[in-house]
Amino acid sequence: MCADASVVEVVYESDLKNVEAAEEVVQRVLASLNFDEEEQHKVGMAVHESMINAIWHGNRSDPAKRVWLRFFIYDDRLEIKIRDQGAGFDVSSVPHPLEPDNLLKISGRGIFLIRSFMDDFQVKNLPGEGTEVTLVKRRIPATEINQGGFHREHEGHNTPG
């Protein structure tokens, strides 16, 4: 499935401060792929919400657990996979935030925003291993973009200093 994709992978500890670190990586990747500023913001926000779900709700900020952020760069799309080591969740059980009864609820908008900002969003529960979400954004094929392109680039663990 990933034979023709370039891959960028970063592994984070379960600390909310790493959400901002992930945002910076997202912006670098998207800028290199010539996504415009608005698209960068939307994808960045979808990753922000997904990272929070993984660190806060999935791993419950357990420092022993990790979050994997991976970018699969295809000519026609960008796939972003975020995996945690939590107990998983049923995405269909999340109440729709636009329903009148939910409009003034404090939480429950993260998944909705991810769906709004991405072209596709999938959740896969991995029994005993955690949850992996896949965010997809279509891109206009432009062969010249990849001339300096990405090859498998492990940026390693982001550990506190």
Partner: protein
Amino acid sequence: MSMKATIRQVNAVTVVDLSGRITLGEGCTQLRELIRDLLSKGHNKLLLNLADVTYIDSSGIGELVSGFTAVSNQGGQLKLLNLTKKVHDLLQITKLLTVFDVSDDEAKAVASFDKVASA
């Protein structure tokens, strides 16, 4: 950069100039405590100026809703001033522009509180 807040009093309205990030964690906690503190001191006409808010996430939006509800429950009003395009778009897709009173003109926004107060 976390959130910062500067408080001004304009007539009967408390204007809060917010800047930075309102996100899960520090930013949301600061905003929650700020509104709670203002309410406890009797300030229930709040105008949040979001002009310099660089980033707000779903938790930050939830905190604005929480503040709106808390102020309303005390017979007051919480309104928003100077939304950036990104914040405006977020409130639009979450249908919260139908909830919040939003303005780009501080003087008019302040006056709108006064009208309610004298009604």
